[in-house]
Amino acid sequence: GQQANSLHTRAAGSVSGLHIFHKEGDHEDLAPQLVPLDYTTCPDVKVPYELIGSMPELKDNPFRQRIAQVFSEDGDGHMTLDNFLDMFSVMSEMAPRDLKAYYAFKIYDFNNDDYICAWDLEQTVTKLTRGELSAEEVSLVCEKVLDEADGDHDGRLSLEDFQNMILRAPDFLSTFHIRI
């Protein structure tokens, strides 16, 4: 309700700033692109990733880039208002477990091949520990994860394997949650 509106105006305000900047730099006769206050005609306004990544709720999160990519329109991290609201509604307290598990799978799937392979796991672990574990330790962890969760033994985690594992985790709902 009100929170979503304030996010909207925050996003809208920053976008109009960006448009003005373009106009000055280009010396072209750009028609002043006013940020539409009325979204009923679904205009094509996108907030760039840099602004999203610097939001207080996301700036300390090691997975913020992946979150923005997963929820954005073209997978490049730039989000429309709909994407923005989708992101916060999935990450909110009220979202059902299965939906959260589905999006968590997409976030941790770095190469977007619909499987969490060993490379994806290595990326996740490295981001989680900020590179403090040695290569041997990282590969041991990835091996253990595949041992534990890979149900169909194909060397990578499918959505089914992932959901099977994550839906039993006691902390999943409480940690995969952003409060506005």
Partner: protein, 636 residues
């Protein structure tokens, strides 16, 4: 059209308003972003308890205290409402009031003040009936609300095992997305790294042979010490209660502060120091931290429960003494009254006229009102508990943090990283303390209707005080081991405490005779007789006859049988539905595999829709086992 829009807008605004009314949301969010979700769960629990206590307070205040205050006889009109002559001089002293004696004792705060008249005021408010029913309603409401909270959480219980997905859970659920603070994020990264390193070392060390016999002996030794501690603390409390009875016989002025508050101090101090002892003994045991935490919680629970029950036993002892004393006082009063009337008649015969026989209420000899005594004990215990908690936080957390922060500049070793450093917020200790305090409230509120009100004040100030203390003096825990998957572990303990604390109250209501000269049930043989009396007087006679028939033992047994059958039936239905649920989940997974192999764009809605299609009976038949593929042909 306009009306529909306006109505929709009004509903949305109302929802926003309701969300904004939830108290302390910003505080909890701030704590969550700095300390993570497990510390915040304590404050969420505190807020929930505040809501429950608010309802209890509204019930007792509006249906017991307010009517007596507005429509009952005022202070000084009856013996039970007046401070006895002997205590009058000191009735308003702060020391006496702090002990809830004197003026505080003879007020709406305690059981003894209430009059036993059947109706009071112009509305004919039936106070004794209301007192009894509100007491029962409070217990019933508490049960309902705790059970409701537990059933809401039951879906969250994954029902899995702890170690199958150890590393997977560490990788995918250890980052707390609520964190919004760079310092906390740093701490979290460090703790995750340490966690991984420990898990890796454990994994490598799992092959090492351990000396089974030595470990078993050490564990036995640790449990032996724990039993000793529990026994010792029980004995200490019993001895302290006996001593407090002796002190009660003596003149209050000869006692120092410690003697007066000895019992409460002993209980609070035991609750503070024994858990540390248990922690020490746990060093001998060498369990995995999660298992060690469960053992610790179990032992603290046993300690607090034992203390509470020893306290109640000592109290029962005291109550029996008072009931004996009452019989003596009753006999004395008849004698005293006879003497007074004889003396009065003697003086009357000297003069021809005289004023009617009148004795000032303060001069009438009193029976020992055991119900008020019970209420006073619980109120004093609650107050001293609050003070101990606040003092502990101030000294243990705040002063320690000040010392570490300011003396760090001129100290040999780094105070912040080594000993003593800042305190961590002890989640389980705090939650257990909250649960046991609530148990005391449930026990005492029948005899002291003011207890829920006192608890509301306490929770309110606790919220602000502990929020401040946490943000100012505590650091996030280095290793987070949650005792409960959902909050159900703590709610389960709360339910157990609720049951255990209402049992003594119900026993007292059903089997002890109320005092003859104080409280709304004085003059009756048992407290629940007020129900029978109401049925006789206020209901038409045919209803009373029906209800009397209903309490026929044959009918009661039949009702119990029906209830047992209903429980069995519901249990069977629940099991059947769980099995059906698992079956549906399996079907979903099969569908997802199909989706993946058919390379369709997976989206939850389409999978759900396909599932509905597949559960159609056509697909169940063996000749239609390729039904799954057929469904996708229907999709564009």
């Amino acid at each position: 059209m306009m009306m529909a829009k306006k109505w929709a807008k009004f509903l949305r605004d109302f929802e926003n308003f309701k969300a904004a009314c939830v108290p302390w949301e910003n505080k909890i969010k701030a704590i969550e972003s700095q300390f993570g979700s497990s510390v915040a769960s304590y404050f969420l629990f505190l807020r929930w308890m505040y809501g429950v206590n608010m309802v209890l307070f509204i019930l007792t205040f509006s249906l017991i205290m307010l009517p007596e205050y507005l429509w009952g006889l005022p202070y000084g009109s009856l013996p039970r409402k007046t401070v006895p002559r002997a205590e009058e001089a000191s009735a308003a002293n702060f020391g006496v009031l702090y002990d809830f004696n004197g003026l505080a004792q003879y007020s709406v705060l305690f059981y003894g003040y209430y009059d036993n008249k059947r109706t009071i005021g112009w509305m004919n408010f039936r106070l004794p009936l209301s007192y009894f029913l509100v007491g029962i309603m409070c217990i019933g409401y508490s049960f309902l609300v705790v059970l409701k909270a537990m059933t809401k959480n039951i879906g969250d219980d994954g029902g899995g095992d702890d170690n199958t997905f150890n590393f997977s859970w560490k990788v995918f659920t250890s980052w707390d997305y609520l964190i919004g603070n760079p310092e906390t994020a740093d701490n979290k990264f460090n703790s995750i790294t340490m966690n991984f390193k420990e898990a890796i070392t454990e994994e490598k060390a799992a092959q090492v042979e351990e000396n089974v016999h030595l470990i078993r002996f050490l564990r036995f030794l640790a449990n032996f010490f724990v039993f000793l501690t529990l026994g010792g603390s029980g004995y200490l409390i019993f001895w302290a209660v006996k001593r407090s009875q002796e002190f009660a016989q003596q003149d209050p002025d000869t006692l120092g502060w410690w003697e007066k508050n000895e019992m409460n101090m002993v209980m609070s101090l035991l609750g503070m120091f024994c858990p540390t002892l248990f922690d020490l003994f746990a060093e001998l045991e060498d369990y995995h931290p999660l298992i060690a935490l469960k053992w610790l919680l179990g032992r603290i629970f046993a300690l607090l429960l034992g203390n509470l029950y020893v306290f109640i036993l000592a109290l029962m002892d005291e109550i029996n003494n008072k009931i004996e004393e009452e019989k003596l006082v009753k006999a004395n009063i008849t004698l005293w009254e006879a003497n007074m009337i004889k003396a009065y008649n003697a003086s009357f015969s000297e003069n021809s006229t005289g004023p009617p026989f009148f004795v000032h209420p303060a001069d009438v000899p009193r029976g020992p009102c055991w119900e008020t005594m019970v209420g006073q004990e619980f109120v004093r215990l609650t107050v001293s508990d609050v003070l101990t908690t606040y003092v502990t936080i101030l000294i243990g957390d705040f002063l320690r943090a000040c010392f570490v922060r300011f003396c760090n500049y001129c100290w040999c070793w780094d105070l912040e990283y080594g000993y003593p450093s800042y305190t961590e917020f002890d989640i389980s200790g705090n939650v257990l303390a909250l649960i046991f305090n609530q148990g005391m409230i449930w026990m005492g509120s029948f005899f002291a209707p003011s207890l829920p009100g006192i608890n509301i004040l306490r929770l309110h100030t606790s919220m602000y005080f502990q929020c401040w203390a946490v943000m100012c003096c505590n650091v996030p825990e280095a290793r987070v081991f949650k005792a409960s998957r959902s909050n159900n572990f703590y709610l389960g303990m709360l339910l157990l405490i609720l049951f255990l604390s209402t049992m003594p109250v119900l026993y007292m209501i059903v089997s002890l005779p109320p005092s003859f000269d104080c409280g709304p049930f004085s003059g009756k043989n048992r407290m629940f007789e007020v129900i029978g009396e109401t049925l006789e007087h206020d209901f038409p006679s045919w209803m009373a006859k029906i209800l009397r028939q209903l309490s026929n033992p044959g009918l009661v047994i039949a009702v119990i049988l029906v209830m047992v059958l209903a429980i069995y039936y519901l249990n069977a239905t629940a099991k059947g539905q769980k099995a059906a649920n698992l079956d549906l989940k399996k079907k979903m997974k099969m569908l997802q595999l199909l989706v993946a192999s058919n390379k369709y764009p997976e989206s939850p809605e389409k999978v759900h829709f396909a599932l509905l299609f597949k559960s159609n009976a056509i697909c169940e038949r063996p000749e239609n086992k390729h039904c799954g593929t057929a469904i996708f042909l229907f999709y564009p």
